[in-house]
């Protein structure tokens, strides 16, 4: 799992992510993020990386 920044334009990505949620209610936004997660997971593909990401996300919420 990469922990160094790999996104070329981090502020631009964050802006696009928030923009995608414009005008959506809480539930629709959560649905969008779930779809987004699946699309991104398929870009990664590698099961070991995916499991490491799931574990890291869970840890960061503790």
């Amino acid at each position: 799992m990469k922990t160094d920044l790999a996104i070329a334009d981090p502020d631009g990505f964050y802006a696009a992510w928030t923009a995608a949620h414009q005008g959506l209610g809480e539930s629709e936004s959560a649905d969008l993020d779930a779809r987004l997660l699946l699309l991104l997971a398929n870009q990664v593909g590698d099961m070991a990386v995916l499991l490491a990401c799931i574990a890291a996300a869970r840890r960061a919420g503790d």
Binding site: A30, D31, A34, R35, L37, L38, L39, N42
Partner: protein, 536 residues
């Protein structure tokens, strides 16, 4: 106006007569190489397999018929590996003639198709990917086949009451309408099903669990014509957004299986008027239908920790129960039997040492654990446990309409395939199933149907190559054939010319040897028989 509901006449099942056993008249205790308790799919398949191998068997069944009393049918889907086994046992033609052959499955969400598969695309076998047939028909065909091979093998209305497990076998106590008696077995096989009292008396851990998910099977005959395919709805509009299964079996009977509310009352949901309303919602107002059977059920599963305890073996539901998704229940009982049959036969005949039977546990426990994992994942997809899990599933379904990858995440059951066995001392590379492919003018299963022998398939071998193996084949239970370099064996296994494929009597590949010598073939064979573990 209230609708009246029609029921089809009950299936007419055969019954066989109770015959007082000879032990009751003589008062003598007899000893048998193999005694099997339980005449369901697993027990009958093993009995048939051993009878064909010339092993004397006794099968004790507490009933005098097939099927389950009060239930029209349980299992309905028989997978390719099972059908290949039945081809070898000599009853496939009856199954094909009576059953419904299919290979296409479709999954829907609401009114849209999400995902489809055609299992024929990956099939090389003479047998189709699946045939649907009511379970009791299959048991019926098995009984008639066993009776043709060994007329006195099945003892009806013989209930096993107690088993004494000993180092060299078992003493089996039996109750019959004419009195009680005991018989001895070198090997005892418990195939009495999920609630085996034999297993329970041994206090063996099975790690059971039950799901809160509720379903109601409705077997029904109607005039409307549907595609002969497996259709599943993740969330059917005609079932209040819950899952539905739709499948055809013999006698034009459709199995419609409806997911219910978790707190639904089993008695209420299976009343004809309630089941009838569900059918009306799916079929429309004008379709005439009659019920064959209505049966509510909930999921349960268990996995016995060891399938062998001394000279006692456990096969079928007694050892493992999973959710019905993907037809991984009955098919695995059948495949337990096929895995065990040849091993018991060779041990009883003195060809292989007793430890070969340990590999039955190693291989079939691994298969059962895999089936439990696979079916549990399907169950979780079909019954999300929280609002968030519903959201995750919604994301899959939404993407699946337009994105190929997401279709593979929609999980309405992963259809049973012949499980791959993990590496073991007797199969260092693990073992995978060889489908029933053509070998020259014959097939793998026809070659394996005669006795209990391994099959050596040498890709592109000449007559001289085969002649070099003549001595090995004479010393061991082995037949050797040449297979074409671009034939089905090579294509299915992905092996090249000059590879020697050692196929076990259950059509699993024990070894693949490139440019084999007679010594290497003999060594691989000895290892597959558990006579040696190391290459010389």
């Amino acid at each position: 106006m209230a609708e009246t509901w029609k029921f089809a006449p009950a299936y007419e099942l055969p019954s066989w007569p109770f015959v007082a056993p000879p032990e009751l008249a003589s008062g003598e205790r007899t000893r048998h190489p193999v005694v099997i308790a339980g005449g369901g799919l697993a027990g009958l398949t093993l009995a048939c397999d051993l009878a064909l191998r010339g092993i004397a068997i006794v099968l004790l069944d507490d009933d005098d018929t097939v099927g389950v009393r009060g239930a029209s049918s349980r299992g309905i889907c028989y997978a390719q590996k099972s059908l290949e086994i039945f081809d070898r046992l000599g009853l496939y033609d009856r199954i094909r003639a009576k059953g419904v052959t299919w290979s296409v499955g479709r999954t829907f969400s609401g009114g849209d198709e999400v995902y489809a598969f055609n299992l024929k695309d990956e099939s090389f076998s003479e047998q189709p990917p699946f045939i649907n047939l009511q379970q009791f028909y299959l048991e019926w065909f098995l009984v008639e086949r066993i009776l043709a091979l060994a007329p006195e093998a099945i003892r009806w209305k013989h209930k096993v009451t107690n088993v004494e497990h000993r180092d060299d076998g078992a003493v089996v106590h039996v109750a019959t309408p004419a009195g009680t008696y005991a018989l001895e077995a070198d090997w005892f096989v418990d195939a009495t099903g999920a609630n085996s009292v034999i297993r329970e008396a041994m206090a063996l851990p099975v790690n059971p669990s039950r799901s809160t998910d509720r379903w109601c099977i409705t077997d029904v005959r109607f005039t409307k014509s549907f595609a002969v395919e497996r259709w599943t709805w993740i969330d059917a509009p005609f079932n209040e957004g819950r899952a539905v299964w739709q499948h055809l079996m013999a006698d034009d009977v459709w199995r419609l299986d409806y997911q219910m509310d978790e707190d639904a009352d089993p008695e209420t949901i299976s009343r004809p008027e309630v089941a009838g309303e569900r059918l009306r919602a799916q079929l429309g107002a004008d379709v005439e239908f009659e019920f064959v059977w209505i049966g509510p059920y909930g999921y349960r599963d268990h996995l016995l920790e060891t399938f062998r305890v001394g000279r006692t073996l456990f096969i079928g539901d007694v050892a493992h129960v999973v959710c019905p998704f993907g037809a991984r229940g009955g098919n695995n009982g059948i495949q337990d039997a096929a895995n065990l049959g040849w091993k018991l036969a060779l041990v009883v005949q003195g060809v292989a040492p007793e430890r070969l039977v340990d590999s039955y546990h190693d291989e079939r426990y691994a298969a059962a654990a895999e089936n439990l994992r696979v079916t549990s994942r399907t169950a979780r997809f079909l019954a999300p446990r929280s609002a968030h899990e519903h959201r995750m599933r919604r994301a899959v379904v939404a993407l699946a309409r337009t994105h190929e990858f997401a279709r593979r995440l929609a999980n309405t059951g992963r259809m049973a395939q012949a499980n791959v066995y993990p590496p073991s001392p007797w199969a260092p590379g693990g073992a995978r199933s060889l489908q029933n492919v053509a070998v020259g003018e014959t097939t793998v299963m026809r070659l394996l149907a005669d006795g209990t022998r391994f099959l050596g398939l040498w890709i592109g071998a000449s007559e001289a190559d085969l002649a070099a193996l003549r001595d090995v084949a004479a010393r061991w239970p082995l037949i050797v054939r040449s297979a074409g370099a671009d034939g089905d064996v090579a294509r299915m296994l992905g092996v090249g010319a000059n590879t020697f494929v050692l196929v076990r009597p259950d059509a699993y590949v024990a070894a693949e040897l490139v440019a084999p010598t007679a010594e290497a073939v003999e060594s691989a064979l000895r290892r597959a028989l558990s006579l040696e573990t190391e290459s010389p």
